[in-house]
């Protein structure tokens, strides 16, 4: 009996057939476009006539673009701000909510509600809130306390923090739910033991909760970094990259190359650079944190 027949007898063929739809779907809608993007990054194309191979020209022009480092800096700034504000907030909320005895469902729903609002609607809504005149929503509220009016997104220095505030509001709920689920898996006897050892609330959080959540915390950290590096909707809809390129991010730059200037070569080249950077960063991150993970 040949190896092929044995493979078929042992279910190899049916496994492959079962896998086929998945392979086709991913292949056609996922891997093929990625492959095309890699090819296009070495071409000059208008998507109609035969593309011209230009070697590394697209990469050179992307790296020589004066906006390249601006967008990299802005993206890194957004990521750092989002980590400072956006990373601890869901954890604090989740820990607090897990301590609440009543209305836990209500609090979960309230925390998750912003995630349900479609991102475009949320951003446009916040743009109205950020109206820089003294009659704007936020400025009116702050005015009651004698503060402001603040320029919000109309000023280069406050535009990015304003985007981070909105993005944190929008996305924190999803992470809260993940943490809440993870918190249920923390064994309660560990808290009892800590209590016997005389630990207070902070002691329990520091010595029991956080170490138990270590694995999930490491994963959400890298996921958040990857997601924030690809920030697009907020600057695109709220500021268009302004004022004076203060919120031009890498992904917005990619979008502009492709859809404002029709330069698909530059757009795919910058996409590839971003993907490579994120892949390398993730690999290094997992290597460095391997020993900390609980799994």
């Amino acid at each position: 009996m040949s190896a092929t027949i044995r493979w078929v007898r042992h279910g190899g063929l049916s496994t492959l057939l079962l896998l086929l739809p998945l392979l086709l779907a991913f292949g056609y809608f996922g891997w093929y476009p990625i492959g095309r993007a890699v090819v296009m990054s070495f071409q000059e194309t208008n998507l109609v006539t035969e593309p011209v191979w230009v070697g590394l020209d697209n990469f050179r022009s992307v790296l020589a673009d004066p906006l390249f480092w601006t967008s990299v800096r802005n993206t890194a700034y957004f990521t750092v701000l989002a980590l400072l504000f956006g990373y601890p907030i869901p954890l604090v909320l989740a820990v607090l909510m897990s301590e609440v005895r009543r209305y836990k469902g209500l609090f979960s729903a309230l925390a998750y509600l912003p995630v349900v609002v479609p991102p475009v609607v949320a951003v446009l809504l916040w743009r109205v809130f950020y109206d820089a005149s003294s009659s704007g929503v936020f400025n009116t509220i702050l005015g009651w306390f004698g503060l402001g009016p603040f320029p919000w997104i109309q000023d280069a220095s406050s535009a990015m923090p304003s985007l981070v505030l909105q993005a944190t509001w929008s996305n924190a709920g999803a992470t809260v739910i993940i943490y809440l689920a993870a918190l249920t898996s923390v064994r309660t006897e560990l808290y009892d033991a800590a209590e016997v050892d005389g630990a207070g609330v902070w002691g329990k959080i520091w010595n029991v909760t956080l170490p138990q959540l270590r694995g999930i915390l490491l994963i959400t950290l890298i996921l958040q970094v990857i997601a924030t590096f690809q920030i697009f909707t907020e600057p695109y809809l709220m500021t268009g990259g302004g004022p004076n390129n203060a919120t031009t991010t890498v992904l917005l730059q990619i979008y502009d190359y492709a859809f404002r200037f029709g330069d698909y070569g530059a757009a795919t080249a910058l996409s590839l650079l971003l993907a490579l950077f994120l892949a390398v960063m993730s690999a290094v991150y997992f290597r460095l944190t391997r020993s900390w993970s609980t799994t």
């Binding site: 049916s14 086709l24 820089a132 009016p149 500021t239 268009g240 404002r260």
Partner: protein, 475 residues
């Protein structure tokens, strides 16, 4: 075992379905939005009608009005039928497609872009540079009025060698739009709009002071900041590029641009007459203006049409005048609509497309009957008629076509007379010839910096922008 067989069968069905779904992309374009226009399509098979007698050809055309605008839609479909009767070899499939720069290339590549489509002047050169338009020189030169186009208007549809890639169907000049109600509230005479940039500044200050609204506002986003700064620079005698062909050089740091930015800086920081929003683009500034939040702004003279149909402006509040021209070489930037053809259209499709352009777009300008029919359809839909335009051919032709539809005019023309009476005496200057959109994008951030940073150094900003654009031009 039975479970495995079911699994295999299911997998096979999935796989086949998916492959069929993927394969459907090769089918001819779906023209489901063509409405009942295809009803006369059968006539395309007849070839013996005194026409050239070529092979039957099918083209799709853009800007079929949506069903919500029933009168203009029916008028459009009636024109399609008329065209097909006159040209039995040609079948026309109307599509509701409207120009959108962000989806254009994808639709072109995906085969969903109509054979002919309208787009604004400002994108003409970029599309030609990228090879995304068909060369229709031969077909256009066969038209009886080919030699009569206003040269500065036709220029937007030509490459450096003079080949023609599209047909201009409407032209406008940039103007100063103002809110008559805010003028009155500020104690200004709405029939005496400003005639110098000093007066614009003065009026803006008065409006901001008296009404609390922005006296003057400026577009700054999505290349519109650069577009309007270029307009203002031209009006003050400057140019953003000099030279022709390979020798085009960037001249962003010219005196006109410096004066233009200086004016904005003064209004923003000394007078505080520009309001609180400095992130406007074309759509949002129109919204703000129609809502009575803006006293004056610069835009194309045809904007009134959009202010009425999309923003519900009160016609009584609207005023339009020419931009004050100051300086030796001052001029007004022009704009408008051109109609082009897909670059992958066959020879027969190109010929049919130009026939359609001639029949549908150009006859409104050259033939009384078509002009009146078009005006009637627009009037039935309460669409604006009579907004001032610039001549696609010459002034005489424009005066003639204006007279044909005079009875149908439904816009407050009196309030636009300061523009209409003076625009033809203003020299029309085309957009920067090379990489205009990149240049505008670069200037967006310059304008934004001046409006959001109190100590913005105009000279430094212009020098940096000029270096960046020079680097782009030398590539």
């Amino acid at each position: 075992m039975r479970r495995i067989r079911i699994g295999v069968a299911t997998a096979a069905v999935f796989a086949v379905t998916l492959m069929t779904a993927c394969g459907s992309g090769d089918e001819p374009d779906d023209v489901s939005d063509a409405g009942d226009a295809g009803s006369s399509g059968d006539s395309g098979n007849g070839t013996d009608d005194g026409e050239a007698g070529g092979e039957p050809v099918t083209i799709s055309v853009s800007n079929l009005p949506p069903s919500t605008e029933s009168a203009t839609r029916e008028a459009f479909l009636a024109r399609v039928e008329e065209f097909e009767e006159a040209n039995p070899d040609i079948t026309v499939e109307p599509k509701e497609y409207e120009w959108d720069v962000t989806t254009f290339a994808a639709q072109l590549a995906g085969g969903t872009l109509p054979t002919t489509f309208e787009f604004p002047f400002t994108d003409g050169k970029a599309l030609i540079e990228r090879g995304q338009l068909a060369d229709i020189t031969a077909e256009v030169e066969d038209l009886p009025y080919a030699a009569e186009f206003n040269p500065s208007v036709l220029d937007v549809a030509q490459d450096e060698a003079g080949n023609i890639y599209a047909v201009p169907s409407a032209a406008y000049g940039m103007g100063l739009h103002y809110n008559r109600a805010l003028f009155e509230e500020a104690g200004l005479d709405p029939d005496q709009p400003p005639t110098s940039w000093d007066e614009v500044r003065e009026y803006a200050d008065a409006i901001a002071e008296e009404t609390g609204q922005a006296g003057f506002a400026q577009m700054t986003q999505n290349n519109t900041g650069g577009w309007i700064l270029t307009t203002l620079t031209y009006a003050l005698g400057g140019r953003m590029e000099e030279g022709v062909g390979e020798d085009v050089t960037a001249t962003l740091d010219n005196d006109g641009a410096r004066r233009a930015l200086g004016l904005l800086q003064s209004m923003r920081w000394e007078d505080d007459s520009m309001g609180d929003n400095f992130l406007y683009d074309w759509g949002t500034i129109n919204q703000a203006f129609a809502a009575g939040q803006v006293g004056m702004y610069i835009g194309g003279s045809d904007v009134y049409n959009s202010l009425v149909t999309e923003n519900g402006i009160d016609p009584d509040d609207y005023g339009l005048t020419v931009l004050p021209l100051e300086g030796d070489d001052a001029g007004v930037l022009g704009g408008g609509t051109i109609v082009g053809v897909r670059p992958d259209a066959s020879e027969a499709e190109r010929a049919a497309a130009v026939k359609w352009i001639d029949f549908y777009y150009m006859s409104k300008l050259t033939d009384e009957e078509s002009a009146v029919a078009d005006a009637e359809a627009l009037a039935a839909n309460d669409a604006p008629i009579g907004t001032p335009t610039l001549p696609v051919f010459d002034e005489e032709q424009l005066a003639k076509s204006d007279a044909w539809v005079a009875d149908y005019v439904n816009v407050p023309l009196e309030q636009m007379m300061p523009f209409k009476e003076n625009i033809l005496s203003q020299p029309l200057v085309p957009e920067p010839p090379v990489k205009a959109q990149d240049l505008y994008a670069e200037l967006d951030s310059v304008v934004q910096a001046v409006l959001t940073e109190e100590d913005a150094d105009i000279d430094r900003l212009l020098t940096t922008a000029n270096d960046n654009v020079s680097a782009l031009l030398s590539r």
